[in-house]
Symmetry: C2
Subunit: 329 residues, 2 copies
């Protein structure tokens, strides 16, 4: 009687643990691999047979310094011929969905439309429309693509007229715009100036105004000998001036954006793969909603970065380049 | 016998506690006042009789938006007539010691020379000369006063030639200057631009280069309706891009600067008073080396800010303005 009951309890506990393990098998596998310091494997034919949708980061994955990475456009053609859906998700806040599609088309990627593209500029506009639908005018530190996406969402971006230093700021009447939100992203052309950053910081001090950062990226190659500042730096400046963190930094790796993408395209985790060159943005982003994740070494992160990455930032697979996928379909 | 020994032990412990209390009496008094939520008192004649050297913060204390605060220059004259030494310590990194003296003289402060002035620009040059004497060329985000102080210390500031956005940066050859340090402070005129911030961030990524921030200030009135960004924001931008905190932020409230000032002027804590308008910079700075501390309400912080301040940032005394000191000498 007693031994029998004991065996039943043990069996029930074992079954329970087994079911939990089955549910979280990929997470457990990551933990085991991380504990054993094992490298993720290369993608294989079995993986590509499962995957129906490939989501690509762009900079360092599709192109670098404005030119396509060798073999990538050919591989994308073969993936498309094999019936895969190709989507593109970038943190580049200077791009609208339409301008990213145009850029990819110009580089030779076949059949891309704005509907296949998501940028952090679009994510910012989508966030405001959903979480703060009352916003009509947003003071914006950013470039054309961000301004375009805000306008498409019915939000008037304010700030393009602000140029120069503190003297120009005071001469133009100071901080007296009527704005009900602040949006900050990459601004790397001649229009980055004290007056514009100052107004963004001043307006963000009022916590009734939603404060949105497009992306957290610290730096990127940008065609220079050294890494140069990315959109996260403008966010850091404004947040420090405002003595306030943004309400949301909407780009990758934010899970909300992955959920939005999954909803937009009706994606299932087991048939979706995220392909990127950064563990802390692309891979963490894909894994946050259970997509397969592939790190390509054609951009920012190396194998050493993978071994230093936190467990939830480690990819399922590693390949030298997207070009390698052409052999697998 | 036993009772006698017990009494002796108690007396010794009591004497010990008493001596410790005497040594740290001002600190204890601050803690008691903080616990009881008591407001610091006004300065009185007894305090002014003790004090031989008054150290003034400038913005919000001596002047505001470029004009002297009413009654302040008169009070400074009376303090000087009463034999007090007057020193001026500002975090304004745009000022050299000489330019601050000229500004104060122009506003009507009597008998100020560069030798009476210390700025965070001077502090940056002094820090590099002392802690990193090998530095010859420093990439600098900052204005005239900072460049002047670096030159006076034998350090060539690099960066004034960098203007424009990423296109101008790439066209000028990218990040290829020979510099062995990075110095970042307030830059609020037309020369704040992406190219200059980008180079500072890129060079600071190499940890062999000392990275110095002039001051941590987040914002200041600046003549606008709202507070606008101060030097700490440029430091935050560059630090985020460089993925690295500065080796030192040399302005107030850094204790090293208070020790330098104390050494420069051979100051004794019991005869020195720090006068400022910010608890977290001026008051914390003065208290870090045991000077008397007076918060004036003519600038940034209010009585509410005092009650919210951390214990080591609470002033010994509060007055409406420096003008009030004229009644006490």
């Amino acid at each position: 009687g007693f031994l029998m009951a004991k065996a039943q309890v043990l069996a029930a506990v074992g079954l329970g643990l087994g079911l939990v393990g089955l549910r979280y098998r990929r997470h457990l596998w990551h933990q085991v691999r991380w504990l054993l310091d094992m490298n993720p494997p290369q993608p294989d034919i079995a993986l590509l047979a499962k995957v129906e949708t490939c989501i690509f980061d762009c900079d360092g994955v599709i192109y670098q310094h404005g030119t396509a990475i060798p073999g990538v456009t050919e591989a994308l053609k073969e993936l498309r011929n094999a019936g895969k859906r190709l989507l593109f998700v970038t943190n580049a806040a200077g791009q609208s969905r339409a301008s990213l599609a145009a850029k990819l088309t110009k580089l030779g990627v076949p059949g891309v439309t704005a509907a296949d593209c998501v940028t952090s500029a679009y994510a910012a506009a989508a966030y405001l429309s959903t979480a703060h639908p009352q916003v009509k005018r947003a003071y914006t530190v950013g470039m054309g693509g961000l301004l375009d996406e805000l306008r498409l969402a019915g939000i008037t971006p304010v700030g393009e007229a602000d140029v120069g230093g503190i003297e120009e700021l005071l001469a133009s009447g100071g901080t007296n715009d009527e704005v009900d939100a602040v949006v900050v992203g990459m601004l790397s052309d001649q229009s980055l100036c004290y007056a514009r950053l100052a107004k963004a910081g001043a307006y963000a001090r009022d916590k009734r105004r939603p404060f949105v950062g497009t992306n957290p990226d610290q730096n990127y190659p940008g065609g220079c000998q050294e890494l140069i500042p990315a959109g996260g730096c403008m966010v850091a400046f404004v947040a420090y001036a405002a003595e306030r963190e943004p309400d949301a930094i909407v780009g990758k790796p934010r899970q909300d954006l992955a959920l939005l993408v999954a909803k937009l395209y009706a994606l299932k985790p087991e048939t979706t793969m995220m392909v990127g060159d950064r563990c802390n943005t692309d891979i963490a982003f894909g894994r946050s909603v259970g997509w397969h994740s592939l790190l390509v070494l054609s951009g920012c992160h190396t194998r050493e970065d993978v071994s230093r990455a936190r467990p939830y930032e480690r990819p399922d697979y590693i390949a030298a380049s997207v070009a390698d996928l052409s052999k697998l379909v």
